[in-house]
């Protein structure tokens, strides 16, 4: 039985993880690009990334490209596994509800 993940379930963090998992394994996305993609503010994205990083679900890398600071984010293997399990748990909830509805008919 898959379990829901408290860290991932929060709406913004679910969006962040969905976006990161949509990339190829090991592929990193730039902070400003992700912020615009999800319509978030710097502070909001930063705060939720810190929570996900604390859980070991994402890796945040600060680097310099052409002398300008840039931050890249990637989902870790642990983060991808946790996300998959969370999605399975959500599907199980829907499946269980459908079974209950069928029994009731």
């Amino acid at each position: 039985m898959a379990e829901l993940d408290n860290t991932i379930h929060q709406s913004v963090r679910l969006q962040i993880m969905s976006s990161l998992v949509a990339l190829y394994a090991g592929e990193e996305i730039e902070f400003v690009y992700l912020k615009k993609l999800l319509n978030l503010t710097d502070g909001n994205l930063g705060a939720h990334l810190a929570k996900l990083e604390e859980a070991g679900y994402v890796k945040v890398k600060k680097t310099f490209v052409a002398r300008k600071p840039r931050t890249f984010i990637t989902a870790t293997g642990k983060g991808r596994d946790a996300f998959e399990e969370h999605i399975s748990a959500l599907k199980q909830i829907i499946g269980a509800q459908q079974k209950t509805n069928l029994k009731g008919k």
Binding site: S19, E27, E28, K68, K91, Q97
Partner: protein, 194 residues
Amino acid sequence: MNVTNEDAVQSLAQVEEVMAKTRQSLVSTYAGPFLILWGFIWVVSYLGTHFFLMWVDWIWNISSGLGCIGTIFIFWRLFGRGSATRNPSDKGLVLRTILFWPLFFAYAFVWLSIVKPGNGVVLNAFLVTAIMFAYVVIGLWFGSWLMVVLGIVVTGFTLIGFHLIPAYYYCLWMAVTAGGGLLGTGLYMKLRWR
């Protein structure tokens, strides 16, 4: 944690939406500017060829040259200043993509030197279908089905133009279908997938 059925449905819908949006946004970022540039160049060049056939060599030489300069500029903007994504475990990907195009055109010109097309329509249909084949390959390489479909559809339009449309209208047909196809797809990406 207490999650209702409605919450679960909503969360899964949100996940699917964000994953699709991410993929579309990246395809739009990387492919959109090139499609707009070359779509515009094809539309102008085909129309120019139809109305001013005597300047056909000038039209295509100048437009292709401008297209190459534009392509280099877009590459510089996308990758020189740092791209939206990167993959440290596959650092050669960008280099391989950049190398693919000159190698592809080198081969296309080798084939042309062997086949020796008899007239401008044959030459053009050959080059367009060859370029669309490259779109299909790039689409498969990067997992972008839109590029695969675009390549196949424009190839289909080119074959219709080549086999069924009178030669006099070939360039008008290609301006609308091939040039318009690239330009329209690029603009659609830019407007809807950002």
